[in-house]
Structures are given as C-alpha cells and as structure tokens.
C-alpha cells in the first residue's frame, strides 16, 4: 500500500503511448485502486494498491504525461499532456477522451478530467478541461461544466478571457464570437449535444469557418435553419441554408459559391435553369433519383401533367401512381417499341410512383411496372416484393389476358391452375413497415 506518495510504476521508456508496447488498466475495486499492465514486459500483471496519492505515468521516460489523483481508492482527477513533436510539420497529436480519438493539428494539449468518484462528475465546476486548442489562430481553453453532477455547459474561452462560445442544452441558436467580442459565426437552430464528444463542437466550428459548404455542414437535428459567417466589421461574408434537412440554395463564403438543390451540389447552369427549360422526358430518364426529384420539383407536378399526358390512377395522400402511354411520352422507333411490347406484356404504358419521403417531405418520382394499379402496390414492389405474384387481381389479370384476347373462357384445368396460384399467393407475405424514416 502506498499512501499519499508519488511513485514511478515502470522503468523509463517501458510504457509507450496508448498501448503500443504496454497499457495501463484502471479499475476501481472496493475502495482500492489497482493498476495492472496487460501486455508483456516488466511489471506484467503486477498490481499496485493505492488508497490516497498521486500516480505519474511516464511514457517515453521523459516528462510526466499522465497524472492521476486518487482519493479513497477512487480516481478524482486525470491530467494528460500531449507534447508537440520536435519537428514542427509533424505537430499532429491524438487526443483521447470518452472513447473517441481525434487527430488534430495543435501545440501541446493538456487535458484534465475531474470526478467526484471514478464514474461521477463533480457536483459543481469544470469536469473536463483542454488547454492549447485554437479557433483560427486564437488559442484558448475548452471547458465542460457540471452543475449538481450533471453536464450543463460547454465553453471555449480565448486566452484573453473573451468567451468564444457557450453551448447549453436548451439554447435556441448558437453563436461564436471573435476574441474582440464581435460575432464570427451564427447557427439559427438548437445545436446538437456535444456531450461525450468533447472537442467535436470545436472541430465543427473550425471546419465551418474554414469552409461553410464542407462535410461538417450539418449543425442541428432541426429540419430548417441557416448558418452565417461574419467578418471583422460584422458584415456577413458567408451564408448557407438547410431546408428539410437538406442543403438548398446558394452557399457562399467570400467569392466562392456552391449551388444546392435538395441537398445535391449542382452546376450554376442547372441551378438557375427555369422550369420551362427542363424537358420532363429527359428528367424522367435521369438515373439518380435524388437529382430526378430535385429537377421534378423545379418543373412542378402541375407543369408535368400539362407537358406530359400522365393521369393519376391512384392516390394516397400526397403519394400518387401516375400512368401514361409510352408512345405519347417517348418517341420510339419500331425496334424499341417491339422491345417495350415484349417486356410490358399488358400494355405500352409508363408508370411512375410519386412518393413522399417521411423525413425530408420531398416527393420522389420512381418508375414501377405499368401493370400495377395502386400506390401501396408500387411501394411494395419498389421494396422488393413481386406484388404481381401476391395480389389476386394481378394473378387473375395475367390468367385472363390470353383468354380475353381470344374472346374465350378459361378451360377447367386453367381455372384450377389459377385458383391454385391464388391460394399459394395468400400464404406469401407483404411488407409491413414497422418504422420509416
């Protein structure tokens, strides 16, 4: 038992960073702290019981890099120091917190975690503190703060004492300020909870300031919000808009502009193309469904029905099943028409299911077999169910088609076969969507 003393547990140079040669394993056990090495080398499986005191873990035999404070057998504070590499260009260090490792370019980073017991947050004050981080060129300290042993706030404070941002769970909107107190960035929605992802919020701020239309554009779970960037004089120099969870409109940062339609980056020409400049036939041929939906949205359902002779043969709320004769939609040569006849046995129609996405509220235009008669059947088919083999109406249609063409009745054996197929189809299940998003 080592009480109230500072001790070195391993010989110099033995324990290297995060388990490349060895690893410290910490566990609280009945009021006694244990340190146990898991991998080979000196000290393997040796246990050191410490009730009160400090433990310093040397990784490279140089500076103390991890310091543990133990009280009544529980760790109450962990302090980690990540040192910069000797070579300036290689100053990328990995910081580890809450099971998440993030690589970031920075100077030495000091991380302090505090607990009342090994697993509980302190009742008041900063329980997680990282010094040496930056927003732009400005250094500061990241703090996660608890009240009544619950996480209530995350802050970034510049070294001059000015607060860059403060995140709280219920605050609508999020603002980042410059070191001189002027606004730098604004998000007009409740920003996602950064809890257990320390530095994630800061990295998002850094990424958005570097490129507003970059991969870190998604700030909130709310469907609609805006992001603004402001210069030293408080003038807006960057802007982006989210609608139905998707990027829309012109996203700009200085002179750089990005154009979005239903979340898709598109060219300036396509973005500004008027609805009458778009040919719905060409749009229907667009293979990417998202782009097809975005262009169709521009054309609009009314203009589509005006330009092409589609008729709605079934509707379920905003979902519709549209049909039209292929010959009236596409100009096909005889050979192509033959091919259509060969594959579409019932007729030469084109069928499109217009379905609303439950998450984004956008309408998608998806082609389905022209034999289908109902929106629900189209949904089932799109999800993989060969509905023509499950629903009685299609089985009857198929059996009756040759008979109708020849103006004759089904023979008794054909009728029997049809009945058997219908009976078999009753055992086949359709999809029942538990949840959709």
């Amino acid at each position: 038992m080592h009480n109230g003393s500072t001790m070195r547990l391993w010989p110099e140079g033995w324990l290297t960073d995060h388990g490349t040669e060895g690893e410290a394993f910490l566990s609280g056990k009945a009021n006694i702290m244990e340190l146990l090495t898991l991998k080979g080398g000196w000290g393997r499986n040796r246990r050191f019981e410490i009730k009160d005191g400090h433990v310093r873990i040397n990784r490279n035999g140089q500076d103390p890099e991890t310091s543990l404070t133990i009280k009544d057998g529980q760790i109450v504070e962990i302090q980690d120091i990540e040192h910069p590499a000797q070579n300036r260009s290689a100053r990328i260090v990995t910081t580890k917190a809450w099971d998440e490792s993030k690589r970031m370019k920075t100077d030495a980073v000091r991380t302090i975690q505090r607990y009342d017991t090994y697993s509980n947050l302190p009742s008041e004050g900063a329980f997680y503190e990282v010094a040496g981080l930056r927003i732009g060129k400005h250094k500061g300290v990241l703090l996660q703060i608890a009240k009544r042993a619950r996480f209530i706030r995350e802050e970034f404070v510049y070294d001059n004492g000015q607060q860059a941002y403060a995140w709280t769970p219920y605050r609508k909107g999020f603002r980042v300020y410059r070191p001189n107190g002027k606004p730098w960035m604004q998000v007009t929605a409740k920003v996602r909870r950064p809890w257990k992802r320390a530095q994630n919020l800061l990295q998002k701020v850094q990424a958005t300031l570097a490129s507003i239309a970059g991969d870190e554009y998604r700030w909130s779970d709310e469907p609609d919000y805006e992001i603004g960037l402001f210069d030293e004089q408080g003038r807006q120099y960057g802007y982006g808009k989210i609608e139905n969870h998707q990027r829309v409109g012109v996203w700009r940062q200085g002179k750089v502009k990005h154009y979005f339609m239903m979340g898709l980056p598109v060219s300036k020409e396509l973005f500004y193309a008027g609805p009458d400049e778009l040919d719905p036939r060409e749009v229907l041929k667009t293979e990417n469904t998202q782009l097809r939906a975005a262009l169709m949205k521009k054309i609009g359902p009314e203009r589509l029905l005006k330009k092409l002779p589609f008729t709605a043969c079934d509707a379920d709320g905003e979902n519709q099943l549209l049909k039209a004769d292929v010959s009236k939609i596409f100009t096909l040569n005889d050979e192509a028409m033959e091919q259509v006849r060969a594959t579409n046995r019932l007729d030469e129609q084109i069928a499109i299911a217009v379905l609303k996405c439950p998450s984004t509220g956008q309408l998608y235009y998806l082609r389905v077999p022209p034999r289908l008669n109902k929106v629900e059947h189209a949904r089932q088919w799109l999800c993989g169910i060969d509905i023509e083999g499950v629903e009685e109406e299609y089985i009857r249609d198929r059996w009756m088609m040759p008979a109708d063409a020849g103006q004759r009745e089904l023979s008794p054996s054909e009728q029997e076969a049809m009945k058997n197929e219908i009976a078999r189809s009753k055992q086949q299940e359709k999809l029942e969507f538990v949840t959709e998003a």
């Binding site: 969870h245 996405c357 969507f433």
Partner: protein, 139 residues
C-alpha cells in the same frame, strides 16, 4: 413480414426459421465490407446510412449467384434462395447481411434516426423499374 425503411434502404429482419441459411451465407459467401456500420453511401453526396451505437457486424453479397454450403441443412443456399424464402423478388445491387448483436440506430444526414433492434437482417436498396430489368435506386 416486418420491414424497416430508411430512405432508399430496406431492412428485413430474418425469422428464426431462416437463421441457419443466413448464417451460412454470412460466413461462407459474405464479403468483408470497408466499414460494416455503413450499409450504403450516396452516389453524389457521399451521405452514409450508418449504424451508430450498439454492436454491429456485416458482410455483403454482391452477386445474385452468391452461394454457400448448408452446414445444418443439406444442399446449398444462395442469395437468391434466401431472398425468395423471405418473399423478396430480384434485387439489383448488393445485399448486406447485417448482424445487430446490441440495438443500434441507423443514421443518415437527411433522414431521421431509425432504432434497429438486435437481430439478423438483410438490407438492400429499393429497386426501380426500367424496361428490361429492375435497377437499384441510387441517391
């Protein structure tokens, strides 16, 4: 038959009666995925349908003809036969065999998160009709 839909992705829970076939395909024919938590990725945006939390593993059957030898049943089991047994028709594109050991959430930047309970699943993208064949829906 119960199903989950997340954007263009469909997830079908595999019933107990088909677990052996699923397991044989998973172990023998399934190809390793770059990230088993990412079951699909947007063609233009790169947005991922990604499982977050829980305990998840997956392999993928890229070919319709993917086949495995039955370990607890006689003969062979194929991707086609497993889908047929589930009542699913021809699917274009890969079919992911997803093992959720501990409940996870399926996320995508544009869709609401979908809780996925523990179990075995087949996951695939919706299909779309074109004159000659069904093709995979791409976003």
């Amino acid at each position: 038959m119960k199903a989950y839909r997340h954007g263009e992705m469909v997830l079908i829970p595999v019933p107990e009666s088909l677990e052996n076939e699923w397991q044989d395909l998973y172990e023998q024919a399934g190809q390793k995925m770059k990230s088993p938590r990412v079951i699909a990725e947007g063609e233009i945006t790169g947005h991922k349908h990604e499982l977050v939390g829980g305990q998840v593993d997956a392999t993928t059957l890229n070919e319709d003809s993917a086949m495995a030898k039955g370990t607890k049943t006689s003969g062979y089991v194929s991707r086609r036969s497993l889908l047929r047994a589930l009542g699913i028709g021809a699917i274009a594109g890969p079919v992911v065999l997803l093992k959720v050991a501990q409940a996870a959430a399926l996320r995508h930047p544009e869709h609401n998160a979908l809780p996925i309970p523990a179990g075995r699943y087949v996951a695939y993208a919706q299909r779309e009709y074109d004159e000659t064949m069904a093709r995979r829906v791409v976003d």
